[in-house]
Subunit: 384 residues, 2 copies
């Protein structure tokens, strides 16, 4: 298999983009990646999108978006694995380039979530859970993560304040990200006094409903070299599943798919958690970031809350997590999130992350998760 590099990334400001359609958001974003890479043609493309069918009544977006991007007749593939659709697009694009089947591949993600009502969006997001055994009995996604939060508090003594600190940190980072949906800081008090969604989770524990896209152009390392591009390699990839319904798991505080996917990626990259300078992880809810850190081996089991409280995961900390602002502050157009993590990592590894730049960053990890952890994709990147 060939080594693969990322030669261009693109992202526009995320938010409630009432005036734009799915196709316009996507095309605008993909063209930024084309410009950044210095290419105007691709051999193949992947689009991650969770539920364009329910959100905007449009399936077959692989064909639609290849068309609107002016790339017909290139092969175009949509992948879906709930909120990890974007990470999966990167993994398959990597496989296609590494195998030698294609050279220049666009990997992207997009979701347009605000064209339907809040209750329709809640229904659409619920289709990532086991509908027959979870959804139809009335539980929503905040409800599932609230159960996980309660169990984590009970088992490990994680506090309500520690969860709030995840949101506070991510908003502090996101306030420095001009593409983030929410570019303002919040306090622990404001989290603790915000509207209750599913006890103990309040609205400021939850990532928002967002519109947005993200894109990256990948190619063989040798081609990137010949184009005089900074060499940012994909050195590890992992993908795993877990039981979908949380009632069927042995321990709901443990994200086994994240553990398994990370294990594969660490082995392929020949890296350990302490070799990683930056983590972009899936903080769909504050408790999720805590559980993910434990499953990735960044901290010991049960110690995620403490690490946040001690400031270890802040921009200045030993193990910066979510310098982009994470899903909480940057926004969470579900299919796009996994690719936006890559956009942030590429900017960081190139030294182009402005006020939120992590000094001397060379190795980074992206962890992108579907549903309540039923699927996870992990990638490791290295700047030569």
């Amino acid at each position: 298999m060939r080594d693969v590099a990322i030669i261009g990334v693109g992202m526009t400001k995320w938010g409630e983009l009432w005036e734009k359609s799915l196709r316009s958001i996507f095309v605008e974003t993909a063209l930024l990646a084309f410009d950044d890479a210095g290419v105007d043609q691709i051999d193949s493309m992947y689009v991650g999108s969770m539920s364009s069918g329910i959100f905007v009544g449009q399936e077959h977006i692989a064909s639609l978006l290849a068309d609107y991007l002016g790339q017909v007749p290139v092969p175009s593939t949509r992948v879906e694995s709930a909120c990890t659709s974007g990470g999966l697009a990167l993994r398959l694009g990597f496989m296609e380039v590494a195998s030698g089947m294609s050279d220049v591949v666009l990997v992207s993600g997009v979701e347009k979530m605000t064209d339907c009502s809040g209750s329709e969006a809640t229904y659409a997001l619920g289709t990532a859970a086991d509908q027959e055994y979870e959804g139809y009995h009335g539980i929503t996604f905040p409800g599932l993560y609230a159960l996980i939060a309660r169990a984590h508090m009970e088992k490990y003594g994680t506090t309500r304040e520690q969860m709030a600190m995840v949101a506070v940190k991510n908003h502090r980072n996101g306030a420095k990200n001009p593409l983030a949906q929410f570019q303002f800081e919040i306090t622990v008090d404001s989290v603790l006094n915000s509207v209750m969604i599913a006890d103990p989770l309040r609205i400021l524990d939850c990532s928002p409903i967002s519109d947005g896209a993200a894109a990256a152009i990948i190619c063989p390392v040798e081609m990137a070299r010949s184009m005089n591009k900074p060499i940012i390699k994909i050195i590890g990839t992992g993908h795993a599943t877990d039981r979908i319904a949380i009632s069927t798991r042995k321990d709901i505080t443990w994200l086994e798919a994240t553990y398994q996917a990370a294990k594969q990626a660490y082995a392929m990259a020949d890296k350990k958690p302490e070799d990683i300078n930056i983590f972009e992880v899936h903080d769909c809810f504050t408790i999720a970031e805590i559980c993910v850190m434990e499953a990735l081996g960044i901290v010991e089991k049960g110690k995620g809350g403490d690490a946040v409280e001690q400031g270890l995961t802040s921009l200045e900390g030993k193990i910066p997590v979510n310098p982009s602002g994470g899903l909480k502050s940057k926004g969470h157009p579900v299919g796009a999130t996994g690719v936006a993590q890559v956009v942030e990592i590429v900017k960081q590894l190139r030294g182009e992350a402005g006020e939120r730049q992590i000094k001397d960053a060379r190795v980074a990890m992206a962890q992108n998760m579907g549903g309540s952890g039923g699927s996870t994709v992990v990638h490791i990147f290295e700047r030569e």
Copy 2:
């Protein structure tokens, strides 16, 4: 890249399976493929499904189905490209095995279409068209293909009777297929007198709404040899897109994505149309089979109708098309169709196709198409 073989296939009877859920249909089918291949574990899986979100309110089926198949934590990927989702699952599985990333991969497709009303199903299928420029203006899929049929009749003199003969032939074949949804013959008269759907297409020109799944197990050829399996190789793959809205195409009677995908597959396999003994193609409507034959180069442009009328494409003809009964008689659970074509081809190439067996078949092609031709996947197979 490594050579890839198909070592097992599975399919249950298709139809209106009221008493079964998406997950039960899928698991039953996948286990048949496991049994046929003689494996009980896989390294990875792909599921093609067009719109499980709209049809049954369930996205994230890659995770759900890995779980219900007892294969957690294997990587599991859902791909979607409307009605070519199944073909795409095969293509990505092929890429994963060929690249060396995995050895034993399940490729599958599933759709449960009868849990919603007819108008909801029509809406769901319409999401394969350009919703903003086609769907919202009132056109449905039969309407799009009716426009194509009228143009083909006008341009090439294709007759109403010739289109009916496609359905008659496919029902004749399907009557010999114990897994087909409609196992009975029809006549040209019954097609011409059936209910009008979108002039000139009548209900017997249209493939049905179906529930069903199909599955195949693939692995490197060397592994298949060591297992003493009949060697059925995937020797060519092609994938292409076309403008999604038919109003934007130069000639609506010409399926450019099918032409492009076939060109890639022929080149990779080093075969010409006349080398192929069996074609399984995407006859979502009778006119579609005629246009597909022309784009694949089986017959000259405009001669598809004549070829059917002359009996060239019947089981006993020179170029048998859709021995399985095609989408028209076998059924069309959209995401499963592309994989069911492979099931038929493997049975034919093994000599296990019973009453519909094509003698001495050694090379076969599957052509699977999304929407009104906005995306197409083509594969060529050879029995050693």
